[in-house]
């Protein structure tokens, strides 16, 4: 059985990452933007695990561990911010949240 070259995993990761990036840039709903960010992080996790497997080193998986932890923390705080913004502005559309303009 031919093994899967690592490049395939990396390319898959790249595709997932790009899809996530597109979501961040093109969606209006802030929560969906957040979910796209999570998607991007997951793509990176995939790449990490692939490299760990190739290099026979657990360090890649440790990195994934930390990414997950930080992503969880970030999601919690980020969603709390969105709730606060919603309470003040009644909107979760990214277009309408542009107070910090010139």
């Amino acid at each position: 059985m031919m093994t899967v070259p690592i490049n395939w995993y990396l390319m898959l990761g790249a595709v997932l990452f790009t899809i996530g990036a597109f979501g961040v840039l093109a969606r209006r709903n802030v929560i969906v933007i957040f979910m796209s960010i999570e998607l991007m992080l997951n793509a990176v996790n995939l790449v990490f695990v692939a490299f760990a497997r190739q290099l026979h080193s657990m360090d890649g998986q440790v990195a994934v561990f930390f990414v997950m932890t930080v992503a969880a923390a970030e999601a919690a705080v980020g969603l709390a911010i969105i709730i606060t913004v919603f309470r003040n502005r009644e909107t979760v559309n990214a277009d309408e949240l542009n107070l910090m303009r010139w």
Binding site: A21, V24, L25, A26, I33, A94, D95, L97, N98, L99, M100, R101, W102
Partner: protein, 648 residues
């Protein structure tokens, strides 16, 4: 030719720095604590500091005299400049020449400080006055004690600064402030010349490190090519012209009379203005190498002596007469050093400090008595009311006129004799000097007769207040009068009694000056007799004009017409300078201010600001406040980096 005769190496001492330091401490005290401490404290500290400096100086001179002939006391206080080939220390040198200068400066300075406590008694800015006066004394002492030219220049600039501050002491009157500015600016021109000379000298001293000390220059001077030596000497002389008020840079000195009278006595008669003469005497070995420079110095000195004397005969302000007289007497000193009679020049410097200081202080006493009046046409008959002032003033006048027996006679006579004999002088310059001597006698006695003799022409109110000055003012007058009498006896002509001890004392530093053919006794006595005759003639004419026939001068002035107007208006020199130098400079400056500064400089600065503002108003639209736009920018950046890495 004589080079500096050194009796071995200099003796190292460590206390010379105290001499300029003590007045400096006095100045600091008066500056920071003067107002709070009060008049009495300031009046004690200021003269006290100078008195203390005098005592230290006297002690130092005693030490010096105790050493073999030609010794030098050297105090290298601390290092100053260490830059490549220039290694200059703050070093003070006491040899015969600086011994004379330091005693004159501290001695006469002390007397004038004491006098000032009386004269400036009612002055609200008492502490400020003494701050400046002490500071001046300190700077002057640095100048005369400096072992190297850069340190001398520090003192040179310092006295110039203090001169400016003191001339414009009552700066609320615009005329006084302008006079101060004029003095400073004209001095600056001279200083530029001095600096250029200094640079040229440094440039040509050859390889190795240099400290520009006197001994070092003496060693290397002969190696410098003659044209450069001449240039250096002439540039130094320009500096001397500015500081010592010779043609063409004398114009500031008459205006400087706007300052308080003790200032005029100290700075513009006894000490600061003599700095140029001192400097040339100090560098005698350098000047002796260049006949051209010597001739120039002698000629300018002689012409200045005559020129200023002619102006002095028509002045009506008591201080202005004395100012032009100072210019004239300085001319004599330069004439002396120019013909190679360096010790004669210093001798006259010393006697001049005595009698000119006396005359100025005496005029101060007169002005004080006349409630501020300075116009001699409004004086007269003060002999009866101001006995001490009159007597001392008369002694000073006799001295300056060169009447035998008093100090001025000996010093002036020696200058004239040496001028006659010197290759740089000769009979022509002697004649100029003799005529000037006659005029000196004339205008000084004119001053005496108009001020002290005849009917009092003052108004009722002023006449009522005429009174002799307090002891603090009259005692210095008496001391200076005594010095004006006996001060000349240190320098008797060669065959009389103990001869010229002054010259012998200064010989290690000044050499014999130019070695000249000694005049035959007959020639010498003829010259002496002529100068006495000329002086007495001046006295007689003055007596005739102002005592016997008071109306005669006015008649003469009327008859002379244009000539008289020319003299009274000081040959229109100030007006000439104004038209040729001042106005064009002012015009250029105004243009630079109105046009260049506003349009170009401000335009550039404001233009830069506007450019930044304009460009930023374009760029700031990038900051839309929209997070997704920022994320897009980040992605674009990432793409760029990746692209670069991929294509590498």
């Amino acid at each position: 030719m004589h080079h500096e005769a050194m009796a071995g190496a200099p003796t190292t001492v460590h206390f010379l720095w105290l001499i300029p330091a003590l007045p400096l401490v006095g100045a600091l005290f008066n500056l920071f604590l003067g107002r709070r401490a009060g008049r009495h404290a300031v009046g004690l500290v200021a003269p006290g500091a100078v008195g203390a400096a005098f005592l230290v100086a006297a002690y130092a001179v005693v030490q010096l005299v105790g050493l073999p002939h030609g010794a030098v006391l050297l105090d290298i206080a601390w290092p100053w400049i260490a830059a490549g080939t220039l290694q200059v220390d703050v070093a003070f040198r006491l040899d015969a020449l600086s011994a004379v200068m330091v005693l004159v400066v501290t001695g006469v300075g002390f007397l004038i400080h004491v006098y000032s406590t009386g004269y400036m008694h009612d002055e609200p800015d008492y502490a400020r006055y003494f701050t400046y006066l002490n500071l001046f004394t300190s700077a002057m002492l640095i100048l005369v004690l400096a072992d190297n030219l850069p340190l001398l220049f520090v003192g040179w600039e310092g006295v110039g600064l203090c001169s400016y501050l003191l001339i414009g002491f009552w700066y609320t009157e615009e005329a006084n402030a302008s006079a101060g500015k004029k003095a400073f600016l004209v001095n600056r021109i001279g200083d530029a010349g001095f600096l250029l000379g200094l640079f040229l000298l440094f440039w040509n001293l050859g390889p190795g490190t240099h400290s520009l000390s006197v001994s070092e220059i003496a060693q290397h001077a002969k190696a410098i090519p003659l044209p450069i030596v001449t240039a250096i000497c002439l540039l130094f002389f320009v500096g001397a012209t500015g500081k010592s008020a010779q043609l063409p840079l004398y114009v500031w000195l008459p205006d400087a009379m706007a300052g308080p009278t003790p200032v005029s006595a100290l700075i513009h008669a006894a000490t600061m203005v003599t700095a140029g003469v001192y400097m040339i005497a100090r560098l005698n070995f350098l000047f002796l190498l260049s006949p051209t420079a010597m001739t120039v110095v002698a000629t300018v000195g002689a012409l200045t002596a005559l020129f200023a004397a002619t102006i002095g005969v028509a002045q009506t302000d008591i201080k202005k007469v004395l100012a032009y007289s100072t210019v004239s007497q300085l001319g004599y000193m330069f004439l002396a050093v120019g013909v190679g009679a360096f010790s004669a020049g210093i001798f006259h410097l010393m006697t001049h400090a005595f009698f000119k200081g006396l005359l100025f202080l005496g005029s101060g006493s007169v002005i004080h008595a006349m409630s501020g009046e300075q116009d001699i046409r409004k004086m007269g008959g003060l002999r009866a009311h101001l006995p001490v002032t009159y007597t001392t003033f008369l002694i000073g006048t006799l001295a300056i006129a060169g009447i035998p027996g008093l100090a001025g006679f000996f010093s002036k006579d020696e200058i004239l004799a040496r001028t006659y004999a010197s290759p740089f002088g000769g009979p022509q310059l002697w004649a100029v000097g003799a005529i000037a001597a006659g005029l000196t006698s004339f205008y000084m006695f004119r001053l005496v007769f108009l001020t002290f003799f005849g009917e009092c022409r003052a108004d009722e109110h002023t006449r009522h207040h005429i009174h002799e000055s307090p002891k603090s003012m009259t005692v210095p007058l008496m001391v200076l009068a005594l010095l004006s009498v006996v001060g000349g006896y240190v320098g008797l002509p060669a065959h009389w009694l103990w001869g010229n001890r002054f010259e012998a004392f200064l010989e290690p530093v000044l050499g014999e000056g130019l070695h000249v053919e000694h005049l035959s006794a007959a020639t010498e006595y003829t010259l002496m007799g002529t100068s006495v005759a000329v002086a007495l003639f001046g006295l007689a004419v003055a007596y005739l004009f102002y005592v016997v026939q008071p109306g005669f001068p006015m008649l003469l002035a009327y008859k002379a017409g244009a000539l008289y107007r020319l003299i009274v208006n000081k040959y229109y020199v100030d007006e000439l300078y104004d038209a040729v130098f001042v106005r064009p400079t002012l015009a250029v400056s105004t243009w630079l201010w109105r046009t260049f500064d506003v349009e170009v400089v401000d335009g550039a600065v404001n233009g830069t600001a506007e450019a930044v503002g304009a460009s930023s108003s374009v760029w700031r639209r990038w900051q839309s406040g929209n997070v997704q736009d920022y994320a897009l920018s980040m992605l674009v950046g990432a793409v760029a980096i990746l692209g670069y890495l991929a294509l590498r």
